[in-house]
Subunit: 366 residues, 2 copies
């Protein structure tokens, strides 16, 4: 295994001190920033996430702040999801597309006010796309990256831990809603959301100087809950069918191919720059789509797209895979052509360590 | 040292097989792709780069292709460098700025034809900015990332090695010019350029399938030249004052602050979106600027911006540093306020391992 070279360009976060003290063993780079991938071991982190509570440095979810009289109009240009029903206090998962309908990101948008949004981004410089559009169309908006660092509290004991630090009111936050909660003399957005299926919160920590005090307060308050530093867990997120932009879908794919059609309302999303391109696919459906894939055998790490074959013919690819201790099988995420995407279809997957049998699985493992 | 986690999102390159076979020991991530940082050791790689010839996987220099009737106009919008004199066959180093004059990238642009350019990017998704502008302004251009993977041949024996594979004509290429050279039945752009001061070429390999055949041909042809796999070398690039976008300057900085004023002709770069914002600074000069910084002591890795202090007052920061065996001192790159940027100014630099004496150095170490 090669090590990762340090440099200012690969940014540290408001929580890096805590992450290092907790003995982080692996990193990836996400939005030009360090994202932990493993603390004790991926399997140990996985078991702990499902039974206790973890604090995650997800500061890599950088915010794009859009503010000004044209903020709402600009937001609707970015996504085929109809935003007319979105009110302050709500978070929306919003696939974002370019003029061809290709996905540029799949962020969570947070509506702070009628004229102010945060877009909590996956791994691409969405800021540059939004700035380019706003400039080109001479829109009355400010577009910038504020000093906001998300920290996630995830796991079955997340409510208990969050309540100890933010007060019992935090338990009342509904899924994909947020409230304002005080810590360190400043109000922060606390949303019921996060990149796991175990439940919990994301705290949008305003001001880097508030990062470590909150990290430490959570660790202190959760000692008897067995709180640990954690991170998005490869196994758990594949089991749960949580997609990863750049892995499971890219700019090559429409939201419909990514299985995100339920978040699109292309007919009524008037103003979306990709609307014309997506109208047909939203009506007729895509010709390939994300599927859960079960794979047999002793797999290598999935560090590249693995072709899915029907004999000599490529009919798709697997882009995420891991062994699931709970389901005692390899779980995977792939994109499969419609001729082969029915549940139970037998295929082969070509990895760097050989060919393995694969089968289209009915659902994700939840 | 933490390891780097593999995933499809952190893309492998057309040369990854060769890089792995050569025993790469460290990586960074650059444009969401793997970039080697060390093979034998940073010092051994450094000495070898200065005496022999290396082949570098710099496929992370992704290309943004801009093609169509508005390509020239769009190019000029992106940069305060006057592009009127740029002809096909030329490469230009072009600082690119947003509407505030903040740097978005510092790519090398390659003019392929009057209506066709490649922009060989540093570490930011410049594609999204250009696409956003082009869409917003309804320009008649295609903007995309083609399947082109740069490979660098660097070092004093670069001409000899390149000539053995591409023929003696390659020796005639002038600095920052390119020619078309055949390999594997396809013509490729071969430019005299590269991210070292040792001289050499960058081959813009078209078609990923041509990557490893060219890599292998160079390794084979250069055996008696002691050719080795290499990569941009931290020590050598700091000695030479080669800036790194994201390290030494960011969107916070103007090209003038980055010491790139000589590549700007703001008065005549009509159309540049940052022109209004830059006119004043281009005339009066910036209030802080890049300087060579010599530092005393046993430094830790420069993995974050190090404050430069005059007593209790911060007057700048160091963003790259390393020990130079040839100059027997720590060489660094920093940005210093104009009150303290004169040669010989004594300062302190605050690192994660303590405070060290620093001095503003007359020039880079070349």
């Amino acid at each position: 295994m090669a090590t990762i070279a340090g440099s200012r360009r690969v940014r540290r976060t408001a929580f890096s001190e805590g992450v290092e003290a907790a003995g982080v063993k692996g990193y990836t780079v996400y939005n030009r920033m360090l994202l932990p991938t493993v603390f004790r071991s991926v399997v140990e982190d996985y078991r702990h996430l499902k039974t206790a509570v973890q604090v995650w440095d997800v500061a890599v979810e950088r915010q794009v702040e859009i503010r000004g009289p044209d903020a709402g109009r600009l937001m609707q240009m970015l996504t085929p999801r109809d935003l007319r029903g979105m009110l302050p206090g709500m978070c929306y998962y919003v696939p974002m597309v370019d003029e061809t309908g290709g996905m540029l990101n799949d962020p969570v948008a947070v509506k702070l006010a009628e004229d102010r949004y945060w877009v909590s981004i996956a791994d691409s410089d969405l800021l540059l796309w939004i700035k380019g559009l706003a400039y080109g169309l001479r829109m009355d908006v400010l577009v910038d990256e504020p000093d906001v660092s998300p920290l996630a509290i995830q796991g079955p004991l997340a409510d208990e831990l969050a309540a100890r630090v933010f007060g019992d009111k935090v338990r009342d936050i509904k899924f994909f809603r947020y409230g304002m909660f005080e810590f360190g003399g400043k109000d922060h957005v606390v949303a019921r959301s996060g990149y796991s299926k175990q439940g919990g919160f994301e705290v949008y920590v305003e001001g880097s100087e508030n990062g470590m005090p909150l990290w430490n307060a959570l660790m202190e308050a959760g000692r008897d809950l067995d709180v640990h530093a954690g991170c998005p867990n490869l196994i758990e997120r594949i089991e749960g069918g949580l997609l990863s932009y750049g892995n499971d879908m890219t700019r090559e794919n429409t939201p419909h191919e990514a299985g995100l059609g339920r978040f699109c309302s292309t007919q009524t999303a008037i103003g979306c720059v990709g609307r014309d391109a997506l109208l047909r696919v939203s009506k007729e459906g895509p010709v390939k789509q994300i599927r859960a894939i079960r794979i047999e055998g002793d797999l290598p790490p999935c560090d590249r797209a693995w072709p899915l074959m029907d004999g000599q013919r490529q009919v798709g690819q697997v882009t995420s895979a891991a062994y699931s201790p709970d389901f005692e099988q390899n779980v995977g995420i792939g994109m499969v052509r419609l001729t082969h995407w029915d549940q139970g279809t037998d295929l082969d997957v070509v990895t760097q360590a050989g060919v393995f049998p694969a089968i289209v699985h009915e659902t994700f493992w939840i």
